[in-house]
């Protein structure tokens, strides 16, 4: 299986490719479409995943455990195909498709005129009978509610109260995939190809419609009551005029026109001639030309691409979880299909398959793209290297497509302006025609009044004439009698009376005859006036004809230009989307390399950190040694200094002594010189002199000692300074090594952070790609179950559905047992099963209603959007008579089977096969076993916890 990255492009560039494949089944064509030379290799869903998915999509509920087991052991190559066939033949398929159509068409609007049962029955019967979609749509667009047989189909109109704007919006959205609501009051501000004229063109089909209330007399026994029945009625249509709220004063005018189509040509009727049945009080009118009928025909005859593609896209979305155009009702130039060529193919094939929904769904179910897994592809790098080569190629294409889109956008602008001008030219003449028509209508009204006068006078005359003849006869007869009985006074009086009466009547008849003549004459004026009112219409029509012709041409040109613009813009944005995806894939290796590089960097930095630590630690001894050296140098210095001090002290003492002796010697010398003959004195002086000399020499010795000590101290000081310097250097070295460690550590931390950041970038890119791959169907979507599916799935998993089915089957068997012959007739059995399904559905539908209340979107809103609110979870956890009671052990359901099974492996199997339609993994089996083993005392409670847990898990809530 190849990826879609460039296949849409392939399709774009080579739309003819598909022409060759016309004969092949659609699923083969789809698969051919989804193969391309580059892209990711998506994995395929497992058998169990496939069966669960396709059962939920086709029947609205998961398979039973035994069906899963049988499917897994089946080794036939065509088992998926056979499973699809079996599901499509089941009564649940018709039910689920009918429900899907109901949600799509009515969006849970209230039943105001058609009951839900009638509507559902019509949908169900239509699906069961294989009624083609276009036929269903035609019935919806045509039924007016008058004929009981088709009244349910009228619900689309009747329960929207026949409101033209609401119908315009919803028909646009639901049947054509285009929400034109924003173009009601002006050209769409953001979407280039939604014009205000598109909205009003569609509105013109629906504007003549209205809700008509018919009073019916209903007899119940003796009682007669009046019942009001609402029907959809239609008057004769006229042009709609509108103006943009942004450009006031410029009027526009349109007849009925389908999106992308020219205004339809309507036959012209002179005023008063538009109806087969004219509107009157209590009368449902029938116009000679029904716009609604025209809409039904034009939309559904297979030629309307938007109609065809809309439903193909919706059915695709039903199966794949999202449309090629998504949201499915917002198909426009800025929200193009992910794959325009595929949408074209689907639309064409859906039409060529005669709008057979069942067959179409079957083809999708069998396609490979439907069978893709929701797991992300594992081998991204190979893909990425291929993608890189693709980028440049796509960029070249982007350039030429951008140019083409600019050209066609400009062409469209020009064509749009020309169209607006052509329209402006028609407006005065159209107004002239309006005036002429109004004058004609006015004249016709006068003529009708005059004719009525004549009719009235004639009636009166006839009344008198009817009486006149017998009275005249009676008068003549009485006159004859009087002549015979001349004396009879009474008779004469009576005859007189008759004669007078006859006279009176004759006069009256004469007067009335005159009146009739006068009134008949009075008609001449209005007749002439009417005749005179006709030429201005014809003149205006004649004038309008060429103008309309050029308008029509301008419109065609504009529409063609718009189609071209849309094609080019769609091709461009589709390509850009792919380009972006390819770029992101191509960028993955560098992101991954960044992680690898960052990881390597972490290793380098951590090694550096360790080395730095080692160096720092190694230096501790050196520093200690230097510190010891410093200490001993300090000691030596202190010792030397001590010795010096001692020497100095000794020396100073000697200096003092010597000084004192010297002074004494000098004094003795002076005294002996004064007393030269005193030998004692002289001797003493001599001795003192000698002593002083001796002391002087001793002082010299101590002086030398001091000098020696000073030199020693100086040397010790030098040694200490040297030691100090060495220590300072060592300390600096230690600090340097500490800093190295800190730096290396910071670098290591930073490197680790870089790994985390790179990983986050990579994860974000993959997450972004996952989104893109989901959009382009490389990966399966997680499809939230609808409220109906969720309820049915819980009923299936908890055995509630099976229990009700069996009860209904037994009931039916009792009421009308099947003969053996019937039991062997597949058609009979199918009908029998449909009957049971209907009964089961009816019994359980109240619960479905509860789920809709909690899990369903509001009425009149799109129903496909997912939301999760606390009140849902509260209902699931605590709701009275709901999930908790279905989970309780009963009737051999999964809870009971878990409680009873002695082998924990079997218990785990039961749990996973029944609730999630798949075998448990070994890890899951072990968990279940451990869970139950720890709860021997309250095993039933534990079993319920397990079932509840699985039912409320994300895996159960989403289909994938």
């Amino acid at each position: 299986m190849r990826a879609p990255v460039s296949l849409a492009l392939l399709g774009l560039l080579c739309p003819v490719c598909f022409a060759f494949a016309q004969e092949e089944p659609l699923h083969v064509q789809i698969d051919a479409h989804f193969s391309s030379p580059t892209g990711v290799m998506p994995s395929l869903s497992s058998d169990a995943e496939y069966l669960r998915q396709v059962s939920l999509d086709l029947t609205g509920m998961p398979p039973r455990a035994e069906d899963v087991r049988a499917f897994l052991t089946d080794t036939a190559a065509d088992k998926r195909e056979r499973a699809v066939g079996r599901l499509l033949d089941s009564p649940q398929f018709a039910r689920h498709l009918a429900t899907t159509l109901d949600l799509m068409l009515m969006e849970r609007r209230a039943n105001k005129n058609v009951s839900q049962d009638e509507w559902s029955a019509w949908l169900l019967a239509s699906v069961r009978d294989g009624k083609p979609w276009n036929v269903m749509a035609r019935e919806i667009l045509s039924a007016d509610g008058d004929d009981p047989a088709t009244r349910p189909a009228a619900r689309f109109f009747l329960d929207r109260l026949s409101e033209p704007n609401l119908l315009t919006r919803d028909i646009g959205r639901i049947l054509f995939g285009r929400d034109l609501q924003c173009a009601q009051c002006h050209d769409h501000p953001l979407i280039d190809d939604y014009l205000q004229a598109d909205y009003h063109g569609l509105l013109a089909f629906l504007a003549p419609g209205y809700a008509h209330v018919r009073k019916e007399t209903v007899k119940e026994g003796d009682k007669e009551t009046t019942k009001e029945v609402t029907l959809h009625a239609e008057k004769a249509g006229s042009d709609l005029t509108f103006e943009s709220v942004f450009i006031k004063g410029t009027l526009h005018r349109t007849g009925p026109r389908l999106f992308d189509d020219v205004v339809i040509e309507e036959p012209f009727f002179y005023p008063g001639e538009e109806y087969d049945v004219a509107p009157a009080d209590g009368v449902k009118p029938v116009p000679k030309f029904s716009r609604r009928a025209k809409l039904a025909e034009r939309a559904t005859d297979g030629s309307n691409r938007m109609f065809n593609e809309n439903m193909a896209n919706r059915l695709w979305a039903h199966m794949l979880g999202r449309g090629l155009v998504h949201p499915v009702d917002l198909h426009h130039v800025d929200n193009p299909p992910t794959d325009p060529a595929l949408l074209t193919l689907l639309g064409e094939r859906f039409a060529s398959m005669s709008f057979d929904m069942r067959g179409f769904l079957r083809e999708i179910a069998l396609s490979q793209v439907y069978q893709r897994s929701f797991d992300r592809p594992s081998d991204l790098l190979t893909t990425a290297s291929e993608a890189a080569a693709k980028v440049a190629e796509l960029e070249v294409q982007q350039k030429s497509l951008t140019e083409a889109a600019a050209v066609s956008s400009a062409t469209f602008e020009t064509a749009h302006t020309a169209w607006a001008e052509a329209e402006a030219a028609t407006l005065p003449v159209a107004e002239e025609l309006d005036k002429a028509r109004n004058a004609f209508a006015e004249a016709r009204k006068k003529l009708d009044a005059a004719n009525q006068e004549v009719t009235k006078a004639r009636g009166e005359l006839e009344q008198k004439q009817v009486v006149l003849a017998p009275v005249q006869q009676a008068a003549s007869a009485a006159q004859l009698a009087v002549e015979k009985l001349k004396d009879d006074q009474e008779l004469a009086a009576a005859a007189q009376k008759f004669a007078e009466r006859a006279k009176e009547l004759t006069d009256a008849v004469a007067a009335l005859t005159k009146a009739v003549e006068e009134k008949t004459a009075a008609v001449t004026g209005p007749v002439e006036a009417l005749a005179a009112a006709k030429p201005p219409i014809d003149v205006a029509l004649a004038k309008l004809k060429p103008l309309h012709e050029s308008l029509r041409q301008a419109e065609q040109t504009m529409l063609e230009a718009r189609r071209q613009m849309r094609r080019d813009a769609t091709a461009l944005s589709s390509l850009e989307r792919q380009l972006e995806t390819v770029r992101e894939i191509a960028a993955l290796p560098s992101l991954e390399q960044s992680i690898v590089a960052s990881r390597e960097n972490v290793a380098v930095r951590e090694a550096e950190h360790a080395a730095a630590q080692k160096e720092r630690d190694a230096y501790v001894a050196v520093l200690t040694e230097r510190q010891a050296e410093m200490a001993s140098a300090d000691d030596a210095l202190a010792a030397a200094t001590g010795l010096l001090n001692e020497a100095v002290t000794a020396h100073m003492k000697r200096v003092e002594n010597a000084k004192a002796v010297q002074v004494a010697a000098e004094s003795a010398q002076v005294a002996s010189e004064k007393l030269p003959d005193d030998p004692v004195l002289a001797d003493a002086a001599q001795k003192l002199k000698e002593r002083a000399g001796a002391l002087q020499s001793e002082m010299g010795e101590s002086q030398t000692a001091v000098e020696t000590a000073t030199a020693a101290a100086e040397k010790a000081g030098q040694s200490r300074d040297a030691a100090n310097q060495t220590l300072d250097a060592a300390t600096a070295e230690r600090e340097r090594r500490e800093k190295m460690v800190a730096d290396a550590q910071a670098a290591a931390v930073h490197a680790q952070e870089q790994v985390v950041a790179d990983q986050a970038t990579y994860d974000a890119a993959v997450s972004e790609l996952t989104g893109r791959w989901t959009s382009d169907f490389t990966l399966a979507s997680l499809k939230p179950l609808t409220p109906e599916q969720l309820c049915s799935s819980i009923f299936q998993a908890t055995g509630v559905y099976e229990r009700y089915w069996q009860a209904e089957a037994a009931e039916l068997e009792k009421a009308s047992p099947l003969t053996d012959e019937q039991k062997h007739d597949p058609a009979q059995m199918a009908a029998h099963n449909r009957e049971i399904e209907q009964r089961t559905y009816d019994k359980l539908k109240g619960n479905v209603g509860t789920f809709v209340k909690f899990y369903g979107a509001a009425a009149g809103q799109p129903q496909g959007d997912f939301f999760a609110t606390a009140d849902q979870a509260l209902f699931a956890a605590n709701g009275a008579g709901a999930v908790n009671s279905w989970v309780a052990p009963a009737g051999g359901n999964v809870t009971e089977r878990i409680i009873k099974s002695t082998d924990p492996n079997i218990a785990a199997d039961e749990l996973y096969f029944t609730v999630l339609s798949r075998p448990p993994t070994n890890e899951e089996t072990a968990e279940v076993a451990a869970y139950l083993a720890a709860r021997e005392a309250d095993r039933p409670v534990a079993a319920q916890e397990l079932v509840w847990g699985l039912l409320n898990s994300i895996e159960f809530r989403f289909n994938h």
């Binding site: 929207r160 409101e163 609401l166 315009t168 919006r169 919803d170 609501q181 924003c182 009601q184 953001l190 709220v245 999202r322 949201p327 917002l330 929701f374 797991d375 992300r376 997450s767 972004e768 996952t770 989104g771 893109r772 989901t774 997680l782 939230p784 909690f854 979107a857 509001a858 009425a859 809103q861 959007d865 997912f866 939301f867 999760a868 609110t869 606390a870 009140d871 979870a873 509260l874 956890a877 605590n878 009275a880 908790n884 309780a888 968990e927 869970y931 409670v941 534990a942 319920q944 916890e945 397990l946 509840w948 847990g949 699985l950 409320n952 898990s953 994300i954 895996e955 989403f958 994938h960």
Partner: protein
Amino acid sequence: MTIRYACNSSEHGMARRSFLGTMAAAGTGAITGGLGAFARSAVSEQLIREQKRIVIWDMHGGLSQLESWDPKPGTDTGGPFRSIPTSVPGIGICELLPRTAQQMHHLCLVRGVNTSEDDHGKGRYKVLTGRPQTPAANNPEIGAVAAKALMPEDYALPGHILITPGGGGGRSNDAAYLGPKYASVQLGNGKPPENTVLPDTITVESDAARQDFRRHLNERFLSRRRTAVTDAYGYSYEQALQLMQHRDVFDVSKEPAKDHERYGKHDLGRHALLARRMLEMGTPVVKLSHSNYDTHHENFNFHIEQLGELDRAFSCFVEDLADRGMLESTLIIMFSEFGRTPRINTRYGRDHWSHAWSVLMAGCRMPRGATYGKTNDNGTEVIEGQVDHANLFHTYLQAVGVDSTASFDIEGREVPLADPSSHPIEEILA
């Protein structure tokens, strides 16, 4: 509300982050994120103060402006009641609201309202959505719009509360295209939301065990594929558990007896007190209502009775919010679907009247003790400062700091928050 998991919107990213944060916390069984309101830490107190809130008093049926905010005593339309002075010199209101008169310095009266719609349903639609009712469009009500604009992404409790006079619970249908996340959760007659109590058959331990098992299953699944929708689904269960745990948030009986006494021992008093409690807990939008003002008969007697309840509850409510500093962050709105006719009918009633009536606002960017707009002497027409539902709708949003001219992105459709052809009442926005 839709979660577009395949999109690249920043909303996705944000929601995702906050989900991850709360999920991680939930796994540990601690009080989870997004419940700052209950953790009561300093930070959460601050958050609560800064959280802008709206409380709507919806006077069902049509409160008479002449018997409340715009009395016209002594005229042909005035009726029997006097106008009394208020705490703001120069502003007088009807004597049926003596306590509220003393709170006038907090209030702003818009007296020139003309909504041109005298039908209950259509009038309500206009006032609640700021737009006229058209068949093809279904618009969200002010509460839902405000909830979407004001509710923190990871807010775990219902952010839009509707206290109804009776009925059960459940989710309303007032959010239209904004989706059920912003639809109001009803507290029927002030009772807590439905299904917030475990059934008797399930023990607390068993519930904890099954929830743990569920979380465990989810973690394994999420390692295969994780998107905004899977996160939202898992998160909804944590929200539910928080709601059950903090069920007493909805229990007005936890408020002091003294306050019950002050607010009045009737439904409205109780509901107003509950509204105060919810706002204090950080609920962004609360709506309560008072029925029924549709006084075609005996307008005056009905208003004596109804406004007696209203005056008591509303004056306490305003006073308390002001005292607690909450008026800075809370916008009070009081409206009806319309007012009542100046003309008094033969049954001493007043009929539907949308052409000259009053709406009250207070707090946030509203001026304190002010009036805007004027009706003529006997209240039959607006003669100054006329505004309509669309102007008011813009103003409510602007008052709480929301750009009412912005648009929501609804599945790729740009939808303006308020009628783009209208504008707010700039004159009263401080």
